[in-house]
Amino acid sequence: MKRIISVIVENEHGVLARVVNMFAARGYNITSLTVAPIPNSEFSRMTIMSEGDPKVFEQIVKQLYKLIPVYKVIESDDFIEKEMAMVKFPLKDVKDNLADIDAIARCYNGHISNVNDKNIVVSVVDRPDRIDNFLKAMQAKFKNLEIVRSGVSVIER
């Protein structure tokens, strides 16, 4: 089962390694991971998407709390989830109108970010499952597609 947790940690030497090592050492998966400092505080927020049954998750949360720099672990069924994705494909592969591509991107809160003489870059921001859909749509259109996903970030409603 897929679940997302938010971990508030103190900004200190090696804290990311501590969290990631704990997952590795205990055989827990990390599907995606995002980290950034929380402005005007001594904390950072890590968002971790992982897989496992509820019992495994209970242990993950407890083991996270056991790490000294972990301030808070937020589990919620009521997160707003957002992920960013960028796709790049060659200009010459574009059969239809650029405006059509832009229209698809806009369905996913995105737009064409850049066009040069070789490539087009489209970026979107949406729920991870909707990002999956967007990528499927793009993959159907373009064989030569480079994809970058940011990993999910969340905030409680």
Partner: protein, 566 residues
């Protein structure tokens, strides 16, 4: 007052009340050793012969005294040699501070001479670790390290100290108190949870107390003894909890688990309520998990929330310090408990006890290792401290020595580190100079830190090593016999035995070689009067097995009790 970082280390340790440090110097930590020298005796130092020895000594010092053990090592090979010692302390929740030298901050990451990623290596085997980057943070970090090591569930804390930080100067200001936003252990249990658990205990028909190392660490043994006495509920102990109840307590069923007693394991198997007092349902205790305690509800008191519900479903979880929780719980139980309620249950368990007591068949031709342990228990004063190495001799010690109080047995339970017993005994002797300290060891284990005889000689730490010499890596040999059709792959040591007498003598100790029962008693009595590190090399029955035994991954009730006739 302005001081350099090295001096700050020394002054901070003195402020913490540390009197002895165990260690080994080297390039990166030289400035600290220089300040130690200048402090001229205000802080004693025991120079071990190997960093692993130093850390085990600090560990034995800590376990026997309840204080924090401290060790100094240098960078690179110094800290890597210390790793086994740190991991040993970590798995048994022993409070240690290990301070290692490190290459200067500007050289970190350049593959400098004797550089290793020390905090990277110790991260998974410490409660916490620090790389000090600025001398201004040093005093605070040391304060925090001590606080972390001894609070909550105790454990080792490692401080990695770059050489330039030991030179840098700042005003020394040792913090009085410390408050961490992100770390607040729960000591007092939830009142409602305690009440519910107390009611469950009163209502149970077949309850059993399952006493673990947490009862020792929290200093709860008097309360535990009282609880058992008032309720008349039978109890089992883990390896880490030996001595919480006296060996002769009529309600003590013995040790639980792989080499526990039949009665203790059957109590766990048949119980309808298991009350864990700081025990963590280790796999050496539960046997095959699917069949563990099938009819029991679980009460689990533990200061570490991650232990609760980790292995078994727990109906009555209580996060808190065993001692504080029992202080709350005891009055609730005293009021209502009816000890007669468990009479039928006690009878059943006593039947098990009588049916299959811990036993061995003694002999007059050969010395049985169990006899040596029992005999030693008769001869030593009741307050003697016992350490062990790892193997058959360790299990026999846990089974047959008459433990009378907690912290009396010092053994590597979680990690099972061969080579632990002797240096741990030296550390325990340092903390308890007026008590007899005896290490039960094996002919395999003793070789793993034998160099420390010199340390015992130099600092006058006369501990006695009783080597139960079976000329085998006995525990592995036993498994080979039982589960590998007796193919003794690389476990026979009979061609490669040192002369333990000469070995001891060459480093200022004294040795005895014993192959008759009378000689053992004489040797032990002599060793007790010698004031030297002693080796008593006791030639014991080679093929003795540790029994009873729950075979690996079997349910607790399927114990092998007797030696199969071959």
């Amino acid at each position: 007052m302005e001081m350099n970082g090295a001096r700050i280390v020394i002054e901070s340790l003195i402020k913490e009340g540390v009197d002895t440090v165990f260690g080994y110097p080297g390039g990166a930590i030289m400035n600290v050793y220089d300040e130690l020298y200048k402090a001229s005796g205000k802080l004693k130092h025991i120079l071990a012969k190997h960093e692993q020895g130093a850390v085990h000594m600090a560990d034995g010092y800590a376990r026997s005294s309840g204080k924090v053990g401290v060790a100094f090592v240098t960078s690179g090979p110094g800290i890597t040699n210390a790793v086994t010692g740190i991991a040993t302390a970590y798995t048994d929740s022993v409070p240690l501070i290990v301070i290692s030298g490190q290459v200067p901050t500007f050289a970190i990451g350049t593959d400098a001479f004797q550089e290793v990623d020390a905090v990277g290596i110790t991260r998974p085997i410490t409660k916490h670790n620090f790389l000090v980057k600025d001398v201004k943070d040093l005093a605070y970090i040391i304060k925090e390290a001590f606080y972390l090591a001894k609070s909550g569930r105790p454990g080792p804390v490692h401080i990695d100290l770059p050489k330039d930080v030991t030179v840098g100067k700042t005003k020394f200001n040792y913090p009085e108190k410390i408050e961490l936003k992100t770390y607040k252990p729960t000591y007092k249990g939830n009142k409602r949870a305690i009440k519910r658990a107390a009611e469950a205990i009163i209502k149970a028909k077949r309850p059993v107390f399952y006493i673990g190392g947490g009862s020792v660490l929290s200093g709860a043994y008097q309360l535990v003894r009282e609880l058992v006495k008032i309720t008349q509920i039978p109890a089992v102990e883990t390896l880490m909890a030996r001595g919480v109840l006296r060996y002769d307590d009529p309600l003590l069923l013995g040790m639980v688990g792989m080499h526990g007693t039949y009665a203790a394991n059957m109590a766990m198997n048949d119980a309808d309520l298991i009350i864990s007092l700081g025990a963590r349902f280790d796999d050496r205790v539960t046997g095959k998990l699917d069949e563990f305690a099938k009819n029991a509800d679980i009460v689990h008191i533990d200061i570490d929330p991650s232990q609760i519900g980790k292995v078994v479903e727990t109906k009555y979880p209580i996060v808190g310090d065993v001692k504080l929780v029992l202080e709350e719980m005891l009055p609730l139980i005293v009021e209502k408990v009816d000890p007669k309620r468990y009479e039928e249950w006690r009878k059943i368990l006593n039947r098990y006890k009588e049916l299959y007591p811990l036993t061995y068949s003694d002999s007059d031709e050969v010395i049985k290792p169990q006899w040596v342990i029992e005999k030693t228990g008769e001869i030593l004063p009741e307050d003697a401290i016992i350490t062990t190495d790892v193997g058959q001799h360790q299990m026999w010690t846990a089974q047959f020595y008459p433990f009378t109080y907690p912290r009396q047995l010092i053994t590597s339970g979680g990690l099972g580190t061969m080579g632990f017993g002797f240096p741990a005994a030296l550390g325990a002797k340092k903390a308890n100079p007026n008590r007899v300290v005896v290490n039960f060891s094996g002919d395999g284990s003793i070789m793993m830190n034998i160099q420390e005889v010199l340390t015992g000689y130099r600092y006058n730490l006369p501990v006695i090593n009783i080597i139960l010499n079976n000329n085998y890596l006995g525990m592995v040999r036993q498994w080979q016999t039982m589960f590998y059709e007796d193919r003794l792959s690389e476990t026979d040591l009979s061609d490669v035995q040192p002369d333990f007498v000469k070995l001891a003598e060459s480093m200022g100790g004294i040795g005895y070689r014993v192959s008759k029962k009378e000689d053992f008693v004489k040797a032990l009595e002599d060793a007790l009067n010698q004031n030297k590190v002693a080796f008593i090399d006791v030639q014991v029955d080679r093929r003795e097995d540790v029994l009873p035994m729950v075979p690996p991954n079997s349910p607790l009730k399927n114990m092998l009790i007797f030696k199969e006739d071959k």
